[in-house]
Symmetry: C2
Subunit: 479 residues, 2 copies
């Protein structure tokens, strides 16, 4: 058992007050679930932002220091909540991380008019918050000098270099959960900013991605933008070496099996449809422009226009989590989603059948019930680091449902042989793919569904976690 | 002297009727000017689209065959106008070439919502028109079996493969005048379409670009998307080899010197300002979203906000050619340009001074007069294959004007040492750059202006043309 410092903007737990009492809310996000397995095997200190008011109160009560907590599984770990300056955090989170970096990672900027890069927000927000994280890491390293540090995602690109400047030898690893765009698109950031991103990541000993494609893009953009030299899976830069790895994240199959059999899911299944249509096309996403929900509805409309035999018989069920509603682009995108769903319904609704059933709310039991019950799962992102839905849903689906998957979803690298592939920008092609999926013969459906489920069981989240630790010990040994 | 077949969508001449009589209009575009030098040294047949009604009449009178013409310089050449099916040409030009391909080349799509790739327009428009060009080339090759073929630009990506299928040995060269985007952005096109683009270009013996950056992007996207193998400056694919070259296009300095001294320019100079402001910031562009005009006005507003000493003394003169006004995105962009100019004027106008002088019309003498008279030339494109304005204007400028140049303009590769570089997405940075340019000391201004003019004189369009011919004879000899 070794000491590990995990750093992510969002921590495994958040605090709130209910009826005057403090309550702990355990996060269910993919990253937190994935990392939970670490806690039973290592002495983990988790550093995260104090996000809400009660988080800040907890941080203050502990004098900004780490305190003891236990995970959902009962494993002990230490948690250190960093209470950033609120104005800096606002710039960090709602200007730089989202939308600026998120939109760069997913090729979402309408570059003819947006963005106007806010360099002040970079320095006064993103840089300051990263400095705050780095200071917390350095304080924990005083306590555990032998620890390795494991940074997560696009919120923390600068922190590794701040830590490295003080600690030449500490093992640093970073996992990037979003797609890595190619170097031209990084040029949306002025030169000093894009250098800081790449230089920050190259202060790590390991940088990991979900796919070979994103890892390859990273290696090239380091060569293009900061003159890193590539040697196999290693980048050399500034007198240091960084291993570039790719390990697709996954899920905990036994946990999903159990969740899907829960009483709340059975209840949700009973409420899922008033009258089930003959076939169900399901999508499950956040209301994020990277998820391509609007084109998805257009594609469903095209399906009904081109193949009228599906009218009255197939319904698209869209279960969407509201996302980042403080950001104007997300508010606009949600409105566009609602308009397009209404347009398709207006065009094709007939009697008591309407084609699109759009539900925008966070309701995980309902999602699990729908996972079990779809005929076609539709996952058409513009770009996606991995896309866990495409792994979760086939695992618990009970109808040998067919997966229609964007070639730009990270999971396509693993699942491509068993899905119906689509280009996210070809709406007519998506309509044809939905038709192919809806009319696929049962033997073929069964063969493909079984292959996906078997793949996910064989490549679960513990395999992902072990790969990270292997990489980290590999570079630690090298030192 | 050898036989050369030049192929471009727009030819060196177009026909119209004036008062019942046919008139020939000689194009003044950069490409036509650049290629004119070929006509005196080679037996050239130029194949182009019959664009207007009178072009189609000329094509019909010649039975679709080539006919004799003479260039502006009096050099004889043959012209073959291809009268495409009008519906196919409409899809080719106004759906696929613009905006689909143009927006891909310049990273301009707002990918969260646009485009819906129109695969039917690709096949029934772009492919058919390219087939028409290839048929014309093959007919001319019957007549001149030893000729080389020189294709131009993004309208003609498929024609080389159609020619190659019939003629394994004919030397084919292609010059791409737009930026080459990286492979992820080509994925906006579904797989068969992006393969056709890359496979079509790789049917050539030479593919040329303006910059090393675009040539490098092309080599990589061929490796990523069609598994081409790279060996130095040569790509191997499908049993063939293609030389990837980069030669920045340029201008004819003596022609420009002469033009700038014309009586029409002197007259335009007299009319240029009612009262000349102390300093003039000039921009000359088409109304194209790639040109970044809107952010340019915002940057000028930022300049006046951050450095109030320029108020009442500096004016931005924006001379814009109306462009592609049949395409909705261009109509919207022109409206955005007009709105932003009005907003800056409303915010800062004072007495008889207003900051932005926006003139949207095609008036070349006025442009030349303004070239001679600016203090700062502002060229901030989102992305630009080369940008001839940044070469033309400094050549004839008489005030040691400073060039503020986007790092994403192709000409930045040549002129970077002598300009004030800007990121096109950093509006505040552009304001600071304009301030630096406006306040640069005279010695430094003079040194930089002289260096740019000397570079353009030493690297003129004839050098560009000779480089093309050298590449073509190099691969011809290799065969």
């Amino acid at each position: 058992m070794t000491d590990l410092i995990v750093v992510s903007n969002r921590g495994p737990v958040s605090y709130a007050r209910e009826g005057g009492a403090r309550v702990e809310r355990r996060g269910g996000g993919g990253l937190v679930t994935a990392l939970r397995g670490l806690l039973s095997r290592h002495r983990v200190t988790w550093i995260a932002s104090a996000l809400g008011e009660e988080d800040r109160a907890v941080a203050e009560e502990n004098g900004g220091e780490a305190f003891d907590d236990v995970s959902r599984d009962g494993a002990p770990y230490r948690l250190r909540l960093v209470a950033h300056d609120p104005a800096a955090f606002e710039l960090f989170y709602h200007v730089v991380a989202n939308p600026l970096l998120w939109f760069i990672h997913h090729y979402l900027w309408d570059l003819g008019s947006q963005p106007d890069v806010d360099v002040r927000a970079w320095h006064e927000g993103y840089e300051r918050v990263n400095r705050g994280f780095a200071d917390a890491v350095l304080a924990e390293l005083e306590r555990s000098p032998g620890a390795g540090v494991f940074f997560h995602d696009y919120h923390l690109y600068l922190a590794p270099a701040f830590v490295r400047a003080e600690r030449a030898q500490v093992p640093l690893a970073h996992f990037v959960h979003v797609p890595w765009p190619q170097s031209d698109y990084w040029r949306v950031l002025p030169d000093p900013l894009r250098r800081a991103v790449h230089g920050g990541l190259l202060a790590n000993d390991v940088v990991g991605f979900h796919t070979e494609r994103w890892a390859g893009n990273f290696a090239r953009s380091c060569a293009d933008l900061v003159d890193a030299r590539r040697d196999g899976d290693t980048l050399h830069h500034g007198g240091r070496s960084t291993l570039v790895a790719h390990h697709p994240i996954s899920i905990d199959p036994s946990e999903f099996d159990e969740l899907a059999q829960g009483a709340d899911v059975a209840a949700a299944a009973g409420r899922l449809f008033e009258k089930r249509p003959e076939q169900v096309v399901l999508r499950v996403d956040r209301t994020d422009p990277s998820k391509n929900v609007v084109r998805g509805f257009r594609a469903f409309g095209e399906l009904l226009a081109r193949y009228p035999e599906h009218r009255g018989r197939v319904r698209m069920l869209a279960l969407l989590d509201p996302s980042r509603e403080a950001i104007p682009q997300y508010v606009e995108y949600r409105a566009a989603i609602e308009r397009e769903a209404a347009a398709v319904n207006e065009r094709f609704a007939d009697g008591d059948w309407s084609p699109v059933d759009l539900r925008i709310r966070d309701d995980f039991p309902q999602t699990l019930a729908a996972y079990r019950d779809y005929d076609v799962l539709f996952v058409n992102p513009v770009s996606d680091g991995l896309n866990l839905v495409s792994k979760e849903a086939p695992l618990v689906n009970e109808r040998s449902g067919v997966v229609v998957l964007s070639e730009n979803a990270g999971s396509h690298e693993e699942l491509g042989d068993w899905v119906v592939s689509v280009s996210p920008f070809d709406v007519v092609g998506q309509a044809d793919a939905l038709h192919a999926a809806l009319t696929m013969d049962p033997g073929e459906r069964g063969r493909r569904a079984a292959a996906i489920a078997a793949h996910v069981r064989a490549h679960d989240v513990s395999a992902w976690l072990e790969a990270q630790l292997r990489d980290l010990s590999r570079v630690t040994l090298r030192q």
